[in-house]
Amino acid sequence: MVTLVFARHQVQLFLKSPGVMALFIVGPIFVIFVFGQAFTAIFAAGGQGFDAMQYFGVTLLTMAVFQGSFIASWAVFKERRSNTEVRLGVAPIGRLSATLGAFLGSWLSLAALGCAVMALASVLLSIDYGERLWLSALLICAEALLAASLGVSLAVIFGEERAANGVMNALVPALVFIGGGYTIIPESGFLHELARFSPLRWINLAMLDLAMPGPGEYIAAALTFSLAASAALMTLACLRLWRKR
């Protein structure tokens, strides 16, 4: 129950920051457009089977959602910033339920944002997310879950905003890059091997495959990777909170 109160609280606070919301929606659309335009010739020469706009329409969308981990860490640290931590500390509630609520709330916000970007990109930039839109949306939701887990667990584990954000600042772009966010991953070689460790790689493959339209072969892998990583991260966070009591 307390968890739900906090989830609602998180979504409500997020809705009250229209600037952040706009940034998270307009930013990706803009970047997709720029990358799509800039790489048109290269993609045409490369014979990828899809054009640059289509490729970045997927990979930069998943990048945007993954960057939502910063929103999730903010969800934890905002109580310290607004000094409301003391009020939560004296209230008859557990830190665990409060943190889980922040996690749930940021997941919902990120999933909604991701779907909003997807809808806008398909309308404004005519990007194709495949016939089975609900599957693409499901992948975005799974990714949002992972992003929320990453932000919340780092926040809980480090307990200090600058440390947590520092780690995310290194980790998020790296995973986006090796996941194929900014460039196509070659069929073989080092980057190809490395790419399998990025959850974004699997989500991107699955979504591109849905758009092709392909048989949907990566969907299971993408969902499994996201959910497993997210479960692992949240378990760590919960253990940490448990031990702190």
Binding site: V5, K16, S17, S82, N83, T84, R87, G89, V90, P92
Partner: protein, 313 residues
Amino acid sequence: MIEIRNASKSFGPTMAVDNVSLTIRDGELFGLLGPNGAGKSTLIRMITGLLAQDGGSVSFFDGPAGTAGPLDAKAVKRMIGLVPQDLAFYQNYSAIENVKFFASLYGLRGKALTEAAEAALAFAGLSDTGKKPAKAFSGGMKRRLNIACGIAHDPRVVILDEPTVGIDPQSRNHILRSVEELRRRGRTIIYTTHYMEEAENLCTEIAIMDKGKIIAQGSQERLKLLIKDSSGVTFTLKRPDPVDLGAFKRIRGVTTAKLDELRLCVTSEVGATNLNELTAEVNRQGLIVTDIETDSPSLETVFLSLTGRSLRD
């Protein structure tokens, strides 16, 4: 009832709270008076369970101690309402959204929640703030919202940490009247301040804290008695004439005699009734006096006489 026994807390070399023992009875308006850095907020954090003490204990009882065992942590949290020294609410939320959120942490839902929040806002004089976000409030309104957020769940024990710092007299009066109203409603109140006047006008029991220690404690009357034993007389002189302080010190009952430019201050033991001898000595030395003051003790003088410093430097 709240019983604090030998509570201590240090931050590195600083003893923020040094072996403090206090008893706060139900329905009391307990003032914790002390200058900046005395350790008031640290003690409050220990009472509310936000900070673990290095040593000693803080226990809450349902009724007087001894009738039943101390309450468990959860029960204690339910009965406490904290108004922290630093503003603690969400700047983007309106007043009612803030109050409702914090009250909902105490299990209030639906209609009961709305009613409680509205009552708390009315109590704090913030009923007509509508959807305006808290960040657009004036300083005094923010202080009052800070209070509303701490009391909406109708706690039995209300702890206010310097709730009137840095605000206009109007909001300040409102807050002081609110605190009195809480007391009338039978709440137990712990009120920290470094304003003497507030403690004097408001509190039924007062503890004076300095450098982590409780240096005096009791009802106002008792505290003032503490220094009645050194009632003072101040003669304001017309000219900076030389004064034979030794002669004053030899007078029956006199404890100190000091000359501070034109002010000759003589303190005596309580009940010395030596004003006649003092004036006689003034005349004997040919001093010209323009004014005589005898201090009726205030908490300010209590603090001064106990620490040798004034409360606000």
